[in-house]
Symmetry: C4
Subunit: 274 residues, 4 copies
């Protein structure tokens, strides 16, 4: 076994103990990174532990950079191709590689480019993408992505209906409430904010109708709309369940196939299985 | 192919490239119309870009009018009938034609009728119906309409139960809270507003019980009621899923029928398929 | 046909035109009664139209009393029994008769008993029971009652879990927030009010945690709790759907039975249907 | 029958009348305990009925202690083992025994240990665990625990996606709203509180975006997020329903097996049942 195969076994082989240790270490590091991003947003902590946060950031980026380099080195084992360069390119355009690169970019970019502070602050948000690196180590995002893909059309249909409903509710309420509450419903944009809060049943309570007609219409919208906006959830939920059931059934059928392999009973006339 | 058939192919044939381009153009125009309606409600924008909004409105109505006329011209291709007039009448009473006419009406009506400002403002709301013109180009609304039709009875039943629950909750809370909060619960109408906000779980927080008895009753109502009001969503959701499943199964069966057409195995005694 | 049979046909026979007219009249009267109760709660309307409301109440009670008397007269046609008195008693203890009696009671009771004003106001609430009289004319309440009955055990189980969760959430939040917000969380009873508003996702916003620990715990409670409290809805919804599916399948099977009655194919060895 | 067997019959045998009476008594006592904990949190009641609350607490702990001792005495009947000590140890580490011990611990602990007041107050919360003692007498918690166990993986997957969504929503909103509302969104921790209230649709209304960009992003988050956070509910609900259906089907199959035992019809060629 070459060193490159050994590296591959550690960073990508699911059954190995060393892989599990590597995964546990990376997951811990990622969670600590998320914690650091949250804690650093507290002004007092950011000032008091400025150096510690910076040191941890350097350490994290160092580890993530090494990981990325190792993955590039062994790219041809996972992405089989005619030549090595081809494999590396195919790897670099995979979803996980893009996440890996974006996750460390906020650290390296200011070194090469003169960027203003506003942009740097936005890059901090990109740092949060590190949490998606966990995605490689579990199948949650994959399962959800698959469920989304399966019901793509239905989700689009119901979302469209939801959007139309949102549009009509918001516009209607604007014409009804604008005169009485010019501050709460100054324009349709503001009115759409009310419609979203109502149709998703969040109901912050910062804007709500006060006229009798407005309340009457809002009541009908709430009753009808809540159902339509909840439709995508039901569809997504069912897609998710179907996926799980199918997997279970496939496993079951496999077992049954093994069990009953020798006992199939065929039709006496055509030889087809009964 | 006559010119009329060419027109029909462009505005109604789903497979044509020219139809797709026409659809894309119309959809873009409709979305821009919706955006214009929203932006025009901002007082500052309406004043600053008064001429631009008006020009865009004229352009839009011009296109929509031409579209309507073309559809009338080729009405007899889609709506086959004994004579041309009959086809046109049948088309004019179709859902999509009514939407088309209503969508441009707010522009033409003030030309022929002396209407007051209040009515014109309401007509602006009718302009939003233009978004329903997209409905022609996708099957979202149709699928939802079908799901609604299939579960008509169940939706009516649960809605009735929901309304009764709403009525009892609102009236009960009025008698409990009216004396302590005469401003928040001045009459049953106001109390029904609280009941709607609670049963749909929107919960704006503009009115809520403050007495211990009121809170106790509100708690029970919230727990019981939430379930009943959510029932229609569950029913609608299941109707939607059933429709999708049926379509998938039909497609599957078609494929299977083609595959197994020559291999059917009949019962040795009655000739029926096993 | 005797007069009594004619009366029975009008008030109870579903297929008759006269029954439908009677039903439409009664349903209209009931809806107007509900409207009257709501409108009468508006102080200004109650004062201005005092006589009209009173006249309508007398008219309604008069009609409802006659209806009740007619039903008593023909009780033996619906409730077959050895003697007439037995039938009447069986009718009087039926759900619909109790609703009918309770619905007119608030009018007659003060005539015979010296009741204080507080009690009379509560009787007004009983007047709302008139809406349940519609229950006789449609099957909504019956279907829901059946669904509730079918899932009785499961609903009880999940409600119990929901209650335990409510209790723990409320008590925990009391100990966490009481010191910081003695006004919002003065005791566990008040804290339970917060828990109900959170677990049902109503979220009025009158009470909410302000401490970091309180917010952290509330976040976890919201995430976990929301699912558990929504369980009864899911169960009720599925019971409702199952009931509908079963009915549809039964109808389908009936049709199929009629179709295939003569074409059954039995096993050549034991005579059982294949 | 020995005394120990008699005791066991009373406290653990489901079919006995004496067991039912014992269960009813214990359940009543537990409910009264919960009521006492809630009422004692009212400062006025705690002061006025200090002695009564204390007396009831002593009485309750006395009963619960006797119950625990009886269960230890008869442990070897339920937990069959080589020797008595082994059975007792196995019982003491069962879930119900741990709940029993924790439920009375807050009373005994201060006797043996010098504990500060803060700790005693926390112990009061532990007293609430007494409500879980009811868990022994019904199968609600068991059914829910089983449903949770069955869908463990799916619940974990969707919870992970929900958490990632929460993290991104909170962080994004912090960067968007922090400058305009430094008090409402001082750091990401506070922003996460907003995200939880929004994604679970609780929507207290204590924090919400005010900038147009913030409202736009919040609207999209609410629409997308609501569905994902509701996923675990759908999954849990389906697991619960599946469990119920399976149980019903098993009972049905049992009945059918009994009915058709003598009438099975086997294939004429291989002897397998048709």
């Amino acid at each position: 076994m070459t060193i490159r195969e050994k590296i591959y076994n550690i960073i990508d082989n699911e059954k190995n103990l060393s892989t599990r240790l590597f995964d546990a270490f990376m997951t811990t590091l990622i969670i600590l990174n998320v914690a650091a991003i949250i804690l650093e947003s507290h002004q007092s902590l950011a000032t008091a532990f400025h150096q510690e946060f910076f040191a941890f950031e350097i350490f994290s980026v160092f580890i993530f950079t090494i990981e990325l380099m190792l993955r590039i080195i062994v790219a041809d084992i996972h992405y089989k191709s005619e030549n090595y360069l081809n494999s590396v390119i195919r790897y670099l355009f995979s979803f996980s590689a893009i996440v890996d690169i974006l996750a460390i970019m906020p650290f390296y970019l200011p070194m090469f480019l003169a960027v203003d502070l506003r942009f740097i602050r936005m890059l901090r948000l990109v740092r949060l993408l590190r949490v998606l690196k966990i995605g490689r180590y579990n199948k949650a995002l994959k399962a959800v992505a698959k469920a989304l893909g399966q019901r793509k059309e239905e989700l689009f249909l119901t979302s469209f209906v939801g959007l139309v409903l949102l549009l009509f509710s918001g516009t209607l309420m604007y014409y009804v409430e604008h005169e009485t509450q010019p501050d709460a419903f100054p324009n349709i944009t503001a009115s759409l904010w009310w419609a979203i809060a109502t149709l998703t049943t969040v109901g912050y309570g910062d804007v709500y109708p006060v006229t009798t007609l407005g309340k009457f219409i809002a009541g009908i919208i709430a009753f009808i709309g809540v159902g339509f906006v909840a439709l995508p959830t039901g569809i997504l939920s069912s897609a998710f369940m179907e996926q799980i059931n199918r997997r279970e059934q496939e496993e079951k059928e496999k077992e049954e196939n093994i069990d009953e392999h020798k006992e199939v009973c065929s039709c006496p006339h055509c030889g087809k299985e009964l």
